[in-house]
Symmetry: C2
Subunit: 247 residues, 2 copies
């Protein structure tokens, strides 16, 4: 167990919060991605290179459920482990813990490893063989369901350009940035007074600097919004990601 | 000296970098603001309240000069102290240090304290009396010049909307976000290949969610850009901030 799960501790710094004085989605999301990288790095599978071509871990799905948001100067931690791996994907779970170690949130992430040149996913078994097996933590206590996200009749349609400051080390728009694009497209009266308590992300394609993204949002049920972000590619709209946000 | 200067240590996390794998302006800027708050908080002058009205520290000027950017997994630290205070403003300096403690950057910040309701600056002496005196560190080794920033004939004019995710705990667009607005308005071929080595910011007015900012940029000399960000107010353009960026 101690070789399978790592825990990273943080404090909410004065500028880690949103305008509601709660830990921001930006900072929480970045901590989740970094914790995944640190956990993988300590076990030697954070990166891989074949024929001088680096392979990159990219996020395919993410579900974040928060019961209680840490506020400024409060401590919190993230525990993470690998729950499973498949042909192309691996499931990584997280628990968000408050300063007493009590769970206040659950996170499911699903990752693929892509060839940095072709951007195509690689078979995990052909890269890592059985070396993952010793790190699989068959924990069933964290139960996170994925849903089907579809936007049929959007109530909001807006555009958003992508810029240099939206990019991360992989040269594409950072996965967490799409969460902000979706929240920013909702009425600010809502986001500035209610913290989102659940966000589900389906990442479908990368976007790059200078893309003009189209964001469509539909109210699937009261306080549940489905969003789809597309980019123009080859004369048609390609889905970049889908999102479901519950307030 | 030990009561005057505090030092905060960090490591460049995998998602703290920009697309060039160097510490991002966003993270460095946030660390600077947080270090200022922590330093003030430990000495009891991070906040003030009078007649049940909170007063807030706001950034008036910032000059950041970076000789060498920390890269992913590298350690760095920020030392900060107060250099002086005037009727309405206080000068706070920082040194950016690499993992061996060698200075790799210098930062000057100038702060005012505003009434959170009227948004008008308060006389520092009337709030803090002489209690600042013991913390003034008369260090002359850090020499940072301010310049005169004017945009007369812009070569770039662009607009940018402000959103929920751009706000900080003060309910206004975060000071560091304007640095990103300016960098994002420059050609991405430049920002994606050259790190800015000096950025100067003059903050003139606040902006809020839903503002449509106008960004004008002029090449003042080769690799030096002057920028002005305005917002519409009372039928005319009000300057929100000015910036000078050197590559």
């Amino acid at each position: 167990m101690q070789d399978k799960t790592d825990t990273y501790s943080f404090t909410v710094d004065p500028f880690d919060t949103d305008c509601n004085n709660r830990l921001s989605w930006h900072v929480l999301g970045t901590r989740i991605l970094s914790a995944a990288t640190h956990h993988a790095r300590r076990r030697g599978f954070d990166q891989f290179e074949k024929d001088h071509i680096p392979y990159l871990w990219v996020l395919s799905r993410m579900v974040v459920e928060i019961d209680h948001w840490p506020c400024v100067h409060e401590s919190y931690s993230l525990s993470t482990w690998i729950r499973n791996y498949y042909r192309y994907f691996t499931d990584r779970y997280f628990l968000l813990l408050d300063d007493r170690g009590v769970p206040i949130g659950r996170i499911l992430t699903i990752w693929a490893m892509i060839n940095s040149q072709t951007r195509m996913p690689a078979e995990l078994n052909s890269i890592f063989g059985n070396s993952f097996d010793q790190y699989i933590h068959l924990d069933d206590t964290v139960d996170i369901r994925r849903s089907r996200i579809r936007v049929n009749t959007p109530m909001i349609q807006t555009e958003r350009s992508t810029f240099y400051s939206d990019l991360d080390t992989n040269g594409h728009v950072n996965s967490i940035r799409y969460i902000e694009y979706v929240l920013d497209s909702l009425p600010s009266q809502l986001t500035m007074s209610h913290p989102a308590k659940r966000i589900e992300m389906e990442y479908c394609a990368e976007s790059y600097v200078g893309n003009l993204l189209n964001i469509s949002i539909e109210e699937a049920s009261p306080l549940l919004y489905h969003a789809e972000i597309t980019k123009p590619a080859d004369g048609k709209a390609t889905t970049v990601c889908r999102s479901a946000v519950t307030f």
